[in-house]
């Protein structure tokens, strides 16, 4: 095997279709996956807001006020807000972790920093329950 083939083989992490390979994931891989997933959740939440209020916008001012009132009173929407908050918190802490790596800080303890991100996210999410779900829980 040539040097180039060995280099490529070293980076071979299997096929996406190989479902069970997640059991071999290191914390860094979970961090990467969770960062993308939470980023997608936040972006989806933003787009949903623009689409809903945008639809109401074209129906007039009264429709926007009505949409705001209806959504504000909805328990389902509060739970969605809370989920977006949880996604944001993890994305934020992991984003700080990634930025630290960019300036060569904490690379040696990247696994521990990932666990710290998880713990901080759990703490913030629990602290956010009375704030985001005052009438739900």
């Amino acid at each position: 095997m040539s040097q180039e083939e060995q280099r490529v083989a070293a980076y071979d992490r299997g096929l996406v279709e190989d479902w069970w390979r997640w059991r071999n994931f290191e914390p860094g891989m979970w961090a990467w996956l969770l960062h993308g997933f939470t980023g997608g959740v936040i972006l989806g939440y933003l787009i949903a807001q623009i689409v809903v209020y945008g639809a109401a916008y074209w129906l007039g001012e009264a429709a926007v006020v009505s949409a705001a009132s209806t959504l504000g009173d909805s328990s389902v929407v509060r739970v969605i807000n809370f989920a977006a908050f949880a996604a944001f918190v993890f994305h934020m802490f992991n984003g700080i972790r990634i930025t630290l790596f960019d300036v060569a800080v904490g690379v040696d303890v990247q696994k521990q920093l990932f666990y710290a991100c998880i713990i901080l996210t759990v703490v913030f999410v629990i602290a956010g329950i009375p704030f985001f779900l005052p009438g739900v829980i």
Binding site: G39, I42, L43, I50, Y53, Y57, E61, S69, G72
Partner: protein
Amino acid sequence: MVNVLSTRTHWILQRVTGVILILVFVVHVLLEWATPDQAAGTQGPVVGDQFFEIGISFSPLTYQVFAIATLAILLYHGLKGVSNIVTGHSRELSDRTINLINTILLVTGVILFIQGVLIIRMVAGMQPGGL
């Protein structure tokens, strides 16, 4: 069309916008906590729509500048993040496909931004002394 800025500039902007969004998040949470709830007439957790609760705590112009800047930064950070995931980790994609994906994301971002600005301006106009 979408490669006006260099990869390095996009990389820096992605980090800078991320840091700005953290600061915006902190301000947003503090304002929500400090804004009197219009329905309940109380201070504390907002019951009702946060979009409007926050809006009325600013002057219309300040609110618009803050909201529109946040919208632009959010859309850039988010859509560039999608672009990074889709194009940066797919070695099978051709340059043409990558350009197509980036163009679709750019157009989507512009449409969402315009719609967002229209909503923000409408909300600002609803406030006392609105524009």
